[in-house]
Symmetry: none
Subunit: 239 residues, 4 copies
Amino acid sequence: MAAATSVPKPAAKAPKRDATATRARLLKVAVAEFATKGYSGARMDAVASRAKVNIRMVYHYFGGKEALYIEVLEHTLAKLRTDELKLDFSAVMPIDGIMQLFDFIDGHFAAHPELMKLLSSENLNKARFMQKSILIPAMATPVLKLLQNLLQRGVADGAIARGIAPLHLYVTLVSLAYFHKSNAHTLSRIFETDLLALAWQADHKAQTRRMLLQFLTPPPAHARPTPRAKQTLAAGVPA
Amino acid sequence: MAAATSVPKPAAKAPKRDATATRARLLKVAVAEFATKGYSGARMDAVASRAKVNIRMVYHYFGGKEALYIEVLEHTLAKLRTDELKLDFSAVMPIDGIMQLFDFIDGHFAAHPELMKLLSSENLNKARFMQKSILIPAMATPVLKLLQNLLQRGVADGAIARGIAPLHLYVTLVSLAYFHKSNAHTLSRIFETDLLALAWQADHKAQTRRMLLQFLTPPPAHARPTPRAKQTLAAGVPA
Amino acid sequence: MAAATSVPKPAAKAPKRDATATRARLLKVAVAEFATKGYSGARMDAVASRAKVNIRMVYHYFGGKEALYIEVLEHTLAKLRTDELKLDFSAVMPIDGIMQLFDFIDGHFAAHPELMKLLSSENLNKARFMQKSILIPAMATPVLKLLQNLLQRGVADGAIARGIAPLHLYVTLVSLAYFHKSNAHTLSRIFETDLLALAWQADHKAQTRRMLLQFLTPPPAHARPTPRAKQTLAAGVPA
Amino acid sequence: MAAATSVPKPAAKAPKRDATATRARLLKVAVAEFATKGYSGARMDAVASRAKVNIRMVYHYFGGKEALYIEVLEHTLAKLRTDELKLDFSAVMPIDGIMQLFDFIDGHFAAHPELMKLLSSENLNKARFMQKSILIPAMATPVLKLLQNLLQRGVADGAIARGIAPLHLYVTLVSLAYFHKSNAHTLSRIFETDLLALAWQADHKAQTRRMLLQFLTPPPAHARPTPRAKQTLAAGVPA
DNA sequence: GATGAATGAGTGTTCATTCAT
DNA sequence: AATGAATGAACACTCATTCAT
């Protein structure tokens, strides 16, 4: 693809044998294959034939199914990291920053269902392959730092409630952006409502944002937790 | 099972050729197999050998891999429905009822990771097999009615905020109970924190309950949304 | 079936457990199964379920697949022998007798396609199972004797040409009655003509009878084979 | 095959990885397997092992059992068509041409028992696979045109009787060449005579040729069908 | 760098048959 | 006499992977 725009070399006008292009094509196809079929459902043949290369090349470039899958995982996660690095909330108010982060998360998963599927797939086998990646732990996510910074600033100026831990908040943000998308098919079937309909998604997002805002906003001085509320807080059934 | 009710004979207590027992054993093993390996990763051989019967019996009792999987799905979902039917919040205050429902959901998924895995697995292939089940759509979940009732009662007596839709709330409850469990492995790896540790889970649940309570509780009269808050609500980044 | 008309016995009014009836039903179903599917295509399960008895009974009554097949073969051939024994050409003119025998053969195969299929099937594996039958060689066909008698009488009174051997004639008769039926499907496809259409079959039979009559009729005295005809007779291409 | 044309190397004459040779070998073995065992009796393993290749190659080259069988059918029929195209009776007398055609048919089936077996096998399941072939209906047989031409010429010069239809004659020719071969095993067993013995076959062919010649030859002017003969013609028993 | 040919080890499924009641 | 439960051996077909060029 990009090969066409590359600098023409002495004896290779039409670069049919373009290694990097072929490799990129294979990886792209592999992402789709693993995302839609899962690890054991994915077929090496399918990857090769859809990329229109001989299956031998898949082995040549990636070594094997497992290595290919790991690279797919790394590639897809790297895209998220790259996008995350562009985030800069230094100029916005903390609570707005957090809400914008939520929107970013929501937007990224909406735009990249393959990431969602690969993560779900990975969790089904206890992140077995992610463990084997040497790149992934190195790709430290900047998001936690970002969140910690926003929370600190917010708490400091009284705009954000105290006692919210960055990781817990992050997991909550992702839960609320991820689950209703990743599990839309079964939920839609069970409740006979199309959760993938744009209207439903918009409504859900609006409600979620309201909940988050309330959660982040510190309670008014006279509205501190009363014994009554505390009791309610602990009234859960035992797990 | 039925063995326990049969007349005990001198030297043959355990009935070898017990169809219902064999079938039940197979189904139990199959639930584990499909939950841990997914549909395409699951092996019929493995099911048979772990249930210590000839593989032919799997086909005799269930017909085939797909039919077995569907039955596994139905069986596991039926267990949830059965438990849901035991819920009765008619005697508790609405807000407590909703929190207890959350605890129930959280507890059920914690106690039945196989359900979580099967649902995730199903979503990976767009609920393809769930669509084929004729039982599942018939197993109407009572939970939405329950929630609607609680919300109506709560709104009526002023204990619960207006404008919360049952299905949106239910999806939110499940999101918050489900995601951090189902995706614990990858999150643990990425953030180098053990999300499956009991302490982490407890902390997370406490924060989640706080958020939900705040969300459900109606705002004090003088704290209606201000122009400022409204603006924040719309300050999201475009998807 | 026939059981209903049998003499009522002391303690068995409704004969549900009627051994001979069950056996007969199984054999009938087996004939159809083997005729339509061939030996290796036939399924013991199919026989049992179509006869609405447990598969175990098939083994109980017949011993196994091979033994059942052989009995099917014997049963079907026995029907032919029984019908052949009813033939009596002592009162008709020899040439008419032979033509009537041809009509009988043609009629029997038309009425019993299962016999035709079983014979074809048997020939495909070199009559392997027929060899194993101890009944079949004992069921001497009376037809050759019949034919020999007719030929002798015909030759004696000058109505039938000399030099026609009974077995060769019989094989010819069967060829002409059998082949266009047994191979109708492929021929119909290849020549895009429905050989199973009644009109085609009638035309073909008429032509065949004309040929046979001419063959059996002795040539007029002055039309003995000439050198020219003799030469033609030998003008075949080498096999 | 192609090996013969390749440059002979010191110590490696036989090319091991020759696709066309492997494919041809597989097809040849498959013809034998399907001809001797029938469709359901044939084993894919047997084909592979007898061709000394991995079973995977059978699927690589042919797709599956059904596709392989259809190709076997097409290949075997194509051989017949190829041979038929070599026939040229423009220089011989019509009646000789027809007799030579009979000899050709007889010779071809004698030389290719696999064709006979495949056709019989096909008819047992109502030409189910032949229907699926898109090549077979396209392989129009030239034989009917040939026969029509010979008949017309023969009738025109008075050497052949009127009223003989090409397709009926062709089916008759094949019946007389085919049946006693295809059903030799059962007939031999029933009549305790070896129909496959060369002497028997020769005798039978001679008689058959006599019958055909008589049939084709027009009757002498004074020997037109008499009332007596007509009556005989209709004296058949009802079917 | 690139490719078609080839393969060992499964993988779901089916078959005829026997065991225990 | 009759039956449901259970099985070993095949069988068509597939998968990830390597060999030879």
